[in-house]
Symmetry: C2
Subunit: 685 residues, 2 copies
């Protein structure tokens, strides 16, 4: 309350910075920053606690701009409050190698919590951040030691409100009663196609009520600063439900085109820039102007945040005296390192051990390591029993009043919401105290592709437990059998796609995934049983590829993954007996990790001089990189018992041998026959 | 009203068939069929009009089982009503080469309208079917000639209700006021993880009210046949809103495990099978029993459907006398063929024509052909101005009372709902009178991956207009720049991925897409301008790949797509001047179509004897199939003006030349140097 000139000045500074930056870049979205400047000012200056000098302060309030195209709002705030984002970066908005890209990227820009822009993602990230907060509070807070008290604030627009992922996440947040989550819905009636009337006439607040959210409406979002403050205050007081505030604003407030699609995704015209500045009492001839009073006021707020962190550090030290183990645990987690020696808990297998489905092998890993890796939080998109994602004595993460778990729980029931699960996992990972793993069928990781991509781009340590990984799932049929999925995710930068062939390889996948701090992983796991292989060890498999069966006089190398490695090993005898071909077999559980090995090592695995054939029961696309010839499935699968399906498509020792023979014959005359690993140029970029 | 023994008998026949088929297959989902048998019986027997002898009768009521795992419900109904699905097929449920796969597939099974199972898909398909009905009615119905009067009925469960795509589609259907759409929500409180209480506690009907749906609740869905009938009747009467009936049922009704997760996805135990039959008055020792009275009753209903079709045919003949042009047009559309000579309208270009972005070239095609291809219905997921998907005088498909279009409109405003757009397009295509095209950024086609996959699997003629196809979009940055996307969709069977290099190639893409009756297409189109190429013609490009620049003495072949083809052509001079390398250039706008050409042709384009290097500004994965070496982008892009971004990653004539030189040198000693097109075995399957 008691808003005055300085507040208006700060708000208009944000607006004019957005106008100038988009104009200079000749690109970008001035409309949302101009419309949301008032609520952003009040939120950052009156409600949020953060320390620009240490963006990682763990109990900071989180801010997520789900309508990430409005990022000049966020960049302006970060600059004004004193984050390491100098004015020069605003002048290089949307330029190569700046830290002010077209949409906010958490990996590059201090103070950006999560990578947003693809609509709806930030919404689900915020739900994940709120989950992580509630979980961390339940785990670490003790009487007198409220270590985790932060809120997660999130802005979203009509675009996010229309996206399915946001609906999924909103329904989940309502179910979970996340009182620490406060969303502001920028109700400006404009999307790229113009008036939202053309496609979006639902009653948004009523929908959120149906999800179990607390709802409010501030009708004069451009000017009613007191109303905005009161709504935010009220939202903080509601602790048993997430809150949404519908804020009716004028997009591009101040522009001659305010309230129209014209200010959504295009810079203002030069005369309009001047007009806006004049209207707001700024010099129309100057650009990137920040009045000193605004810096002063904001730096004062920032100083309060720094003091809050100092206080927190003292509290945390005291906590260490009374709760030694928890203190050490949290400190370690914040470093990103796993507990010393945790990997000793990973199961290992001998060839004589019984055949087990890799989804069950994954369950054994979770069972074995969950107590030594307390930051691991598992879950599934309603396929718990099929994904084998839950260790036996796991407690569900649930609001306590439902009587089926509590907020200290380490098992997430995401519901049939793959996309929100993935987006929430990105948020959970970004919080800083947890490592999320979540399950669905491999085929339905594709539903989550939007978020999976951002796991990679934003360097989140997230694990996708993707079971039922091929036609080997059998009866569910082509609608559920992945063909294109591994090619898709192998083409995604900074993603490890693991397809383990047995128990040791499954343990290796977990080892590499958990120790890779800034790379997500997808584990493609079978429904059907797999034998434990002779040549497989964790040490071999963590190289991404290794020789499972050597033959120094081999005529042929078979490279394969997952369930087909044992098939290849079976085919060795057929190739020898029927065709007099000597064969070596390579297992390549993770091509991305294999690619990171030395060329010498890779050439020792896939050598020059003999032809190589790949075997994998899905699209052959990309296997040309590791083999001369490819045996795969470039069509949809079939519904039936899996052995029948394998037979139909000739994935049998005989079917492999037949193609192996063709391969050997075809390459007899080629000299020199180079390994496919041997290339003219390394990808320089 | 007046339900009696025969009704109960029919209902229980459906239930026991589902029990027997899942038991025999030792796999499948008996619970939903057992719970939904009553409503299915009433709907099919009392309300729906269809002709099992001609499943394509155009004015039939459509039925969509969005909870497709319950497909034994649908298979049982199709069998009982006399579709070409003999009892033997029920006995081969979920077996290889049956037409009763684990989830319903429209391409294989008569009477299955759309391919469902992946949750939420059927929901969006149904909205698309309803759109197509409303559009066809608005277009073809005339006073006295109500040719299109059918309803679309759809069943969905908790799983669908949780999926984002269903939320998107429901919001859209509410906005569009689709009174011809009636959904039954199987409120059985069970999903795979057990009681939906663990993840799904929202008020579903209130949410649908918020979307603008008419809602009803039948509380005794297992037994209240009169209530079910009354609700369906009421739903049909509400013509200005889509309707949802929440039907509280007991999953696995009759089983000892009824009402639990135990009957969701597992066959009943043998003793339970017998117990169920006993309970329903069936011989517990017999399997797959259909009482003759049930056949008789259902065949009587089917006969009414056949009569309705006959009546319709007569009406249509009469229509032909009074509305000759419309009659001929509709008749042609139902054949799936385009109008004679339509392709003459496709724009062609000379090398001297100005440089244009391929998204604009696509717009020119739409502008040129929309009047000669009246079944084309375009749209965008809120990116109309960016996707260039709307011809100038297009009318929006909108409920007339909004004053911004009407149901005869040919332009869809899908909102920011990519996944629902794709699912709706599958439904629109499946209806049989329309060809849908829909736009978004290429990067956000990934949001729709679940539905795109089903476009392919279910052979729908759907066009994805995917603009802003690379780092060439510039300033929006890495969150919006596709890297993995083309590899993903190239790995998807039965999908044509086009990336045209200029105007003639863009016209070729439309030509092949529109004339391929059972294959969907993705057009990857640039934001930036592209020159018109010397060697490009529609005739060349429709082969999927051709020589854009020939040189009989070439040392190197460059293969490329889209925006990089002209770059490759520019690099030819650099390669000659700086490195004395003679280069030929191949344009490969669509690898799937190229793959379907004769080997001779393919070898004439990518010949033996000289090395080939691919150039495409995204993941190189898969390019090994068409080249010895690959120049691409196996990392995320950058935010900046696109020319700066291209330069950063060395996509310049010099950058290409440098790598071309390395390629030529590397392969000098290899004899014979085979074309990558030359393979040891054709993929036999």
């Amino acid at each position: 309350m008691g808003y005055g000139e300085i507040d208006q000045l700060a708000i208009n500074t944000i607006r004019t910075l957005a106008v100038d930056a988009t104009f200079k870049a000749n690109s970008g979205h001035p409309g949302a920053p101009m419309g949301m400047a008032p609520v952003a000012h009040i939120l950052f200056n009156k409600f949020m606690t953060f320390n620009p000098k240490n963006p990682d302060y763990i109990n900071r309030d989180r801010f997520v701009l789900s309508n990430g195209h409005g990022c000049m709002l966020q960049y302006a705030l970060l600059h004004l409050f004193g984050y390491d984002l100098p004015l020069d970066q605003l002048k290089h908005f949307r330029q190569v190698d700046s830290i002010t890209p077209g949409h906010p990227e958490s990996h590059d820009t201090p103070g950006v919590e999560v990578t947003t822009g693809p609509l709806g993602q930030g919404f689900s990230n915020a739900v994940g951040l709120a989950v992580a907060q509630a979980k961390s509070a339940a785990e670490f807070n003790k009487p007198g030691f409220n270590l985790f008290t932060n809120y997660t604030y999130m802005f979203f627009g009509d675009g996010c409100a229309m996206e399915g992922i946001a609906s999924e996440a909103a329904s989940t947040a309502g179910h979970l009663q996340l009182g620490n989550l406060i969303a502001v819905y920028d109700d400006n009636h404009i999307s790229i196609d113009g008036d939202t009337k053309c496609a979006f006439t639902e009653d948004v607040l009523k929908r959120f009520e149906a999800y179990g959210w607390h709802t409010q409406w501030v009708k004069e979002g451009d000017t009613d600063l007191d109303g905005i403050e009161a709504a935010l205050k009220k939202a903080r007081e509601v602790t048993d439900k997430p809150s949404v505030i519908k804020l009716t604003t004028t997009i591009g407030f101040g522009s001659k085109l305010q309230g129209t699609g014209g200010v959504h995704g295009n810079p203002l015209k030069e005369d309009d820039c001047k007009q806006v500045k004049q209207k707001f009492g700024f010099d129309p001839e100057k650009t990137f102007v920040v009045p000193q009073q605004v810096y002063d006021a904001y730096h004062q707020t920032a100083a309060k945040g720094a003091a809050a962190e100092q206080e927190w550090n003292q509290l945390f030290d005291k906590y260490g005296q009374q709760h030694k183990a928890e203190h050490a645990d949290l400190k370690r987690r914040l470093s990103g390192l796993l507990p010393e020696g945790w990997q000793k808990a990973l199961p290992t297998y001998k060839p004589t051990d019984k055949a087990v489905a890799s989804r069950k092998l994954s369950e054994s890993v979770l069972e074995a390591i969950h107590s030594v890796v307390p930051e691991l939080i598992s879950g599934s998109a309603d396929l718990t029993g099929s994904n084998n994602t839950r260790w036996k004595d796991a407690v569900d993460f649930q609001p306590p009043n439902l009587g089926i778990g509590d907020y200290s729980g380490r098992y997430m029931r995401y519901g049939v919401r793959e996309h929100a699960m993935a987006g929430m996992m990105n948020g959970i990972s970004a919080y800083g105290t947890l490592i999320p793993a979540g399950g669905t069928f491999l085929n339905f990781v594709s539903y989550a592709a939007g978020s999976v991509r951002l796991s990679s781009l934003s360097h989140q340590r997230v694990i996708y437990i993707a079971t039922h990984d091929s036609i080997g799932l059998g009866e569910d049929g082509p609608t559920h059998q992945p063909i294109e999925t591994l090619a898709h995710f192998r083409a995604l930068p900074n993603m490890m796609v693991w397809r383990p062939a047995d128990g040791n390889e499954t343990s290796a996948a977990y080892y590499v995934a958990l120790t890779s701090k800034s790379t997500p992983s997808i584990f493609a796991l079978t429904r059907q049983n797999l034998p434990q292989l002779e040549g497989s060890t964790i040490e071999h498999a963590i190289k991404g590829g290794y020789v499972a069966l050597e033959d120094k006089d081999a005529d042929l190398t078979l490279v394969s993954t997952g369930s087909e490695v044992s098939l290849c090993l079976e085919s060795v005898k057929v190739l020898k007996d029927n065709h007099n071909i000597k064969t070596r077999v390579v297992s390549l559980p993770c091509v991305e990790v294999f690619d990171s090995q030395s060329k010498d090592y890779r050439l020792s695995v896939i050598p020059d001089g003999i032809p190589t054939m790949s075997v994998e029961v899905m699209s052959t696309l990309g296997w040309e990189k590791y083999s001369h010839e490819q045996f795969g499935l470039n069509r949809f699968g079939a519904s039936g018992p899996y052995k029948d399906v394998y037979k139909k498509f000739e994935f049998t020792p005989e079917g492999i041998a037949k193609r192996g023979l063709a391969t050997v014959n075809f390459y007899k005359d080629v000299k020199p026959l180079r390994s496919p690993v041997n290339r003219a140029f390394t990808n320089l970029i």
